[in-house]
């Protein structure tokens, strides 16, 4: 799968049975539909979360294309963070800075499962030995 931002091939990271796709050059993250469901442990909760995102459009910014179906993605606003969501439900895209914002934010999704998982991978002091 190729990064929607810079077009490079992404690597896959797996921890605790959940996978994310990660771009080595721009540090963006793709969360697949199935993985979202695995994280939230329920298809309905996933739908609810995705529906709760507000549609927006930022003038001047070109919409990214979904790495699965290559169709233009929708821009959505989640608590002041702008994300890209595939209109056919293939997944969610976080740019590098968006990810940082979410990690610093108080709460992102209802139970913070997504945030917890991302923190587990990218902001894990224990693993870094700091």
């Amino acid at each position: 799968m190729n990064c929607p931002r810079c077009g490079k091939s992404m690597i896959t990271l797996e921890i605790k049975e959940v996978e994310i796709d990660y771009c080595l050059s721009c540090h963006g993250i793709w969360l697949d539909n199935g993985e979202l469901e695995l994280l939230l442990r329920d298809a309905k909760r996933k739908e609810k979360l995705l529906q709760s995102f507000l549609l927006t459009s930022v003038p001047g910014e070109k919409p990214l294309k979904c790495p699965v179906c290559h169709k233009k993605m929708l821009q959505v606003m989640v608590k002041k963070v702008l994300l890209d969501k595939c209109r056919h439900g293939h997944g969610l895209w976080f740019d590098n800075d968006e990810l940082q914002k979410i990690l610093e934010m108080g709460d992102f999704d209802p139970d913070n499962t997504i945030k917890k998982h991302l923190t587990e991978i990218f902001n894990n002091k224990e693993a870094k030995g700091e």
């Binding site: 799968m1 896959t12 990271l13 921890i15 049975e17 991978i121 693993a127 870094k128």
Partner: protein, 424 residues
């Protein structure tokens, strides 16, 4: 079972000649349509040439073509030890002279087929989805069915048909396309030769008609004979495994799947154990020309009692078809006369598919696509696609530098070698 093998040889020859004749006919009319009254000579000679080349190609490398069409990948035992074990078990049971080559299609839809020229050069193909969905007994049932196609000499005929059907569909496609785009040019040439105009128009209509009909006819010819083969391969499979429930529940699982096999097409559909082109939700009951309804095959398998030889299967078949087709014999006479008692195996413990099987399936598909797998000491698993050429990678979680292990590169290299050995 020698008369079965004999019949299959005869059918292959009939198919070979039948296909040749219909090609010649097609060439005749297309030639007339394109090049006027003497065009049939050119049309027929081209058709004859195509027929010769096609036959030679499908005999010598039909299996390679079918394998390439279905995006099958040759695998080494390390990639899936259980699959290799089961194939070897069936090789021993069926007394095959050599071990069939083993392929996996990186697709999540469950299905399987066999191809090759004869028992010495045969291949068994399964999808990644099949391996993840079936337990050991079920997999054994499916492999036994495929190995039976090899021992019953079905594979040459099936492969041959797939290649020829594929090329007829392809050729008539090209013809119809060129007609569509080249229409204007010909109409001007027709006005210059007034007399032949009408005849040419008729010829052209016939050519179009044939180009549309030929693939359908070819398909009919091909499918008309392959339903019996499926029953027979089921019967032979039970004779090998002595455990009908394994195949029965495998068929049930394959038919219940609502995922479409992407690499299957009209030409290759007849090869598979369950027709992959039926719309989802209908696989169990649908009666297609290639395959008997799966539900019926399952019912027959489940009503087998007393033993695992051919007569036992025929009895189960007849009792199911009571009244309608009782007399129809699925098994050739020499099979029925083989009365040696074969005990059925009692069911063992059933495995329950693990929860993380979806992850295992994805990883198997990645392995087939030559991904490199790394496990960082911090617990993160990293999966690197083959087009990302790096020697080391920094773990995004803990920052450790991880080298790409040599063993993985060797795994990929040995798979490539196996792939190359097929094409040679």
């Amino acid at each position: 079972m020698w008369e079965l093998i004999q019949t299959n040889r005869r059918r292959s020859i009939v198919l070979f000649i039948g296909m040749g004749l219909s090609l010649l006919l097609l060439g005749f009319f297309i030639g007339e349509a394109f090049w006027g009254s003497d065009g049939w000579i050119a049309g027929m000679s081209i058709a004859f040439l195509i027929w010769l080349i096609m036959s030679a190609v499908s005999y010598f490398s039909g299996d390679a073509i079918v394998l390439a069409m279905s995006h099958a990948k040759r695998v080494t035992p390390e990639i899936h030890p259980r699959l290799f074990n089961v194939v070897e078990e069936m090789k021993i049971a069926a007394n095959l002279p050599t071990m069939p080559k083993v392929y996996i299609i990186p697709d999540i839809a469950p299905n399987a087929f066999a191809t090759g020229r004869n028992p010495e050069t045969s291949s068994v193909v399964v999808t990644a989805g099949l391996l993840e969905k079936l337990d050991r007994d079920e997999l054994q049932g499916v492999i036994a069915h495929e190995v039976s196609h090899i021992t019953n000499r079905d594979i040459l005929f099936m492969t041959f048909s797939a290649v020829i059907l594929g090329s007829i569909v392809f050729l008539s496609h090209i013809f119809l396309r060129s007609l569509w785009f080249g229409g204007g040019r010909r109409s001007s040439s027709r006005s210059s030769s007034k007399g032949g105009g009408q005849l040419q128009l008729i010829m052209m209509l016939i050519a179009i008609l044939l180009a549309v009909l030929a693939p359908i006819m070819a398909q009919l010819l091909y499918f008309a004979i392959s339903r019996k083969r499926e029953y027979l391969a089921d019967a032979s499979a039970i004779r090998l495994t002595r455990y009908p429930e394994g195949l029965a529940s495998a068929l049930e699982k394959i038919a219940a799947s609502d995922i479409n096999l992407e690499s299957a097409n009209k030409a290759t559909a007849g090869l598979f154990i369950v027709n992959p082109l039926i719309k989802k939700g209908q696989r169990l009951t649908a009666l297609t020309s290639t395959h008997p309804p799966v539900l019926e095959r399952i019912k027959i398998l489940r009503s087998i009692a007393g033993g695992a030889n051919y007569a036992d299967y025929q009895r189960a078949y007849s009792s199911l078809k009571q009244g309608t087709e009782t007399r129809t014999s699925i098994i050739p006479p020499s099979g029925i006369q083989d009365t040696k008692k074969i005990e059925l195996t009692k069911p063992g413990k059933r495995e329950i598919t693990a929860e993380s099987s979806r992850r295992k399936l994805d990883d198997l598909i990645r392995t087939l696509n030559d991904f490199v797998f790394l496990q960082c000491t911090c617990g993160l698993k990293i999966k690197i696609p083959p087009d990302l050429k790096v020697n080391n990678i920094s773990c995004p979680r803990c920052g450790r530098i991880l080298e790409i292990p040599l063993s993985q590169l060797q795994r990929i290299k040995s798979r490539w070698k196996a792939d190359k050995a097929t094409n040679a």
